[in-house]
Symmetry: C2
DNA sequence: ATATTGCTTATCGGATCCAATATGCCAAAC
DNA sequence: GTTTGGCATATTGGATCCGATAAGCAATAT
């Protein structure tokens, strides 16, 4: 038999599709913080009943991306400055460790792909694509670690903060700095220097954090 | 006005109650790994329709506590030895840091409560209560950090592995060792020695990890 | 005996319907 | 003018119902 078989049992259900679309919209910032998510409205958008929408909203709440009040519906949840700062601290704790353990496992293929993402990031002129490429680059490196649980946690963490990173990449020289730091991290990886790569990753996140908090205090003054 | 007001809008919905009960049953190990969770059956148990049950199952899947296949239902998900080992590594990374930042914020009240949990743990003769008291003790210390995000992540992490810890506390001298180590951690906290408390916490988790893996290899041989 | 086919039942995903609560508005009472 | 009570509407949470798929079993053909 020569058939390109697709596993239909793994096809996404309606609720899964709604979930993923809503999640992406929240992550990208297309849905503003505090914006109410009406079940009816979403159901009509996707041409489904409210049942799969409600399951999607339950899952989003479990991920901390929306907040729900009984009989009052769900709203997109955001982060206070303190919460964002804490999330940066968390990333500074976990991501360097992932890199440390990933470096010895990086094949030439992975390093090549990472360099590709890095290049694309540096050359892109589309601010909206930056966050995407930034995440591709980091994911490429992190995935080499094959630490499924760590990666899952970091992904959920990124989902919560990426909106703010986008805003910040555009508003500052963050883009150029990120670019330089990415290449530095990449070179440490290519050199097989796990400790250096981890240290650079920590410094990178710390820089983003500081820049983020500065911009925030500017906005609030 | 002197009324002990309860916020009725925060009362749990049916789906939330089902979710919490299922989650607790999975965490405690009352529901075996691989056991299928039939919507009808659960709905009848709680005297509700399948709708809130399905929302509960969605949420459990989002937490990694069940696995769902389309049209085939949900089963309790477990951990391979590798996955469990990775989770211990993750805990060794995060929990010491939480302790480090919690120590300066521990009031006499908190330390008192922690000592209470620690005592209760050491005196309890009920193996099923150990895991509970163990978690109370650690939570008491961790909560002092007021790192909401870190705490959320650690809680979800514990939810995935607690079943295995229970089994292990009973089967070994783990109970006694944990007890000694708890008091050591507590003393470092009382002394305000954050670094020592963090180091002891890391050692504690590492000990549990090693003991866990040894028992596992025994079982498998 | 074994493999294939068709049927029956169990179970799931989703749609539709109903009850409970929230929200906004307007009139009436003070 | 402010507050109170009584609607009408919007929205949610849950129950019931329906179509689709999975899984087991019997009947048939080879």
């Amino acid at each position: 038999m020569k058939l390109t078989a697709v596993d239909i049992s793994k096809m996404a259900s309606a609720s899964t599709i709604v979930f993923q679309e809503l999640r992406n919209a929240i992550i990208k910032g297309d849905l503003a913080v505090g914006e109410p998510l009406r079940q009816d409205e979403i159901a009509k958008l996707f041409n489904v009943s409210r049942i799969p929408v409600r399951e999607a909203l339950s899952r989003l709440e479990e991920q901390g991306l929306v907040r729900t009040q009984r009989y009052r519906g769900a709203v997109v949840s955001g982060l206070s400055a303190e919460e964002a700062a804490e999330i940066f601290d968390f990333r500074m704790l976990v991501e360097p460790e992932i890199v440390r353990r990933a470096v010895p496992m990086m094949s030439a293929d992975i390093l090549g792909k990472a360099r590709g993402h890095c290049q694309a990031f540096s050359e892109s002129r589309d601010p909206m694509a930056w966050a995407e490429l930034n995440r591709d680059f980091h994911s490429e490196l992190y995935n080499a670690s094959e630490l499924k649980f760590h990666l899952e946690v970091v992904n959920n963490t990124m989902n919560r903060i990426e909106r703010y990173l986008r805003a910040q990449l555009v508003l500052s020289d963050g883009m150029e700095r990120a670019n330089v730091e990415h290449f530095a991290i990449l070179e440490a990886c290519e050199a097989g220097d796990a400790e250096e790569a981890a240290a650079l990753t920590a410094a990178h996140i710390e820089g983003v954090k500081r820049s983020f908090l500065e911009h925030l205090s500017l906005l609030q003054s």
